[in-house]
């Protein structure tokens, strides 16, 4: 069990990094990565939402969709759960932890349409739905958490590099998004070095 979790952690964070090898969450990755601070804020918000969404969607799938034979409605069910969850987290934070709300506030609504979150819960469903209910719950939550950690790692590294690239002087047509994409490609190349380390 411990080894399984370690393997899951390493592969979710590094080897199958959400951005660099699965291409999930590229929009916020390119959109809010201009400054390391905002990137970290976005990353924390994603960790928070993705862990809770993995838990909630796992429960919804195992205890609502499967008993009623409604598995084919998973897309609608999951996106609704995520949207409701994000709204709920937003209201809860505003009341209970205003300081955290102020820090994450503007990123939360964006997360509803972050494909990383929906992608994570769908991958969870495909990977772990055959397991016993308790085990599938634990693995889904862990996968959601570590995949989000991987996302945060990627977006923070990228924001750091991008802050330096701002001062460089690329050809005129490469200014802005094109050079950012090439930079992302180079970081992805570094990350693809992990794929040689096959474990599990």
């Amino acid at each position: 069990m411990f080894v399984d979790i370690l393997v899951l952690m390493l592969s979710a964070v590094l080897i199958e990094n959400f951005i660099f090898s699965r291409f999930l969450g590229c929009c916020p990755f390119l959109g809010v990565s201009e400054k390391p601070d905002t990137a970290l804020g976005m990353g924390c918000a994603v960790i928070f939402v993705m862990t809770l969404a993995s838990a909630a969607c796992n429960l919804v799938y195992n205890f609502i969709l499967v008993p009623f034979n409604l598995e084919y409605l998973y897309t609608i069910a999951f996106i609704l759960v995520i949207a409701a969850l994000v709204q709920f987290i937003e209201m809860f934070l505003r009341k209970a932890v205003p300081s955290l709300y102020n820090a994450l506030g503007i990123y939360l609504p964006l997360i509803t349409t972050n494909c990383a979150v929906l992608g994570a819960v769908i991958i969870n469903m495909q990977k772990y739905s055959d397991m016993a209910k308790g085990q599938s719950f634990v693995f889904s939550v862990l996968f959601g958490f570590f995949a989000a950690v991987g996302f945060t790692l990627a977006i923070v590294i990228f924001a750091g590099v991008r802050a330096r690239v701002e001062y460089a002087d690329p050809p005129k047509v490469f200014k802005g998004m094109p050079i950012a994409l090439v930079t992302a490609g180079l970081i992805a190349m570094a990350f693809s070095g992990f794929s040689g380390a096959s474990i599990g």
Binding site: I79, G119, P178
Partner: protein
């Protein structure tokens, strides 16, 4: 309101191309453009969803309250995505396997939500359907261009047909994730260059007059 069909198509395909100019829907695009056949499948699926959702949202635009509009759009879009997904599963199982998780992820493709918010919620059904067709064609064409570059470099084939002789050594990086980012960056730079040239020409014409 007057319809300007030609302008809408020009916008969708060229001046406001969802991928190259607006930079929407990048996630699914980077992931599935490793082969031309995948790109066609994804492009058509997203276009169908876009046209249907644009139509329904523009029909309902007066009834959806402003505060919950995003949630309403997402539900409408995900209904159509589920329909498209079931159709693909039934009739094109091979495509379903190669696109995998990215078919349900059409729901959160920013392009569709952006068109719903920016266009369908403000315009009538006919204009919205035309907008869906134009933007969908622009999206599919962008996917086709990127996937053609990546497939030719990465496999030496186009839509599965061998282009070069035995001695061709495929460039593995083109179909790997890093190559995807780099090739997209270069293509966007190329489009920027093209746009600059067009603008320069326009300016010159203006000066001559």
């Amino acid at each position: 309101m007057k319809l300007d069909i030609k302008q809408q198509f020009l916008d969708g395909i060229l001046y406001k191309n969802p991928v190259f100019i607006q930079l929407l829907g990048l996630c699914s695009m980077l992931a599935i453009t490793t082969s031309v056949s995948n790109a066609i499948g994804m492009g058509v699926a997203a276009t169908v969803v876009l046209i249907c959702s644009n139509l329904l949202i523009s029909l309902l635009r007066k009834f959806i309250p402003k505060q919950v509009r995003i949630a309403a759009y997402v539900v409408i879009i995900s209904a159509f995505v589920t329909a498209v997904e079931l159709l693909i599963k039934a009739y094109l199982p091979a495509l379903d396997r190669s696109l995998g998780v990215f078919i349900p992820l059409i729901v959160v493709n920013c392009m569709i939500l952006a068109r719903a918010e920016a266009f369908a919620s403000k315009n009538g059904p006919v204009a919205s359907v035309i907008d869906g067709v134009a933007q969908g064609i622009g999206y599919t064409m962008a996917l086709l261009i990127i996937s053609a570059v990546r497939e030719v470099l990465g496999f030496g084939t186009i839509a599965g047909i061998q282009l070069f002789g035995e001695s061709f050594k495929p460039m593995g990086i083109a179909i790997s994730p890093p190559g995807g980012f780099i090739i997209l960056g270069c293509l966007i730079a190329l489009v920027n260059k093209l746009m600059h040239t067009i603008e320069d020409k326009k300016n010159k014409k203006g000066e001559d007059k």
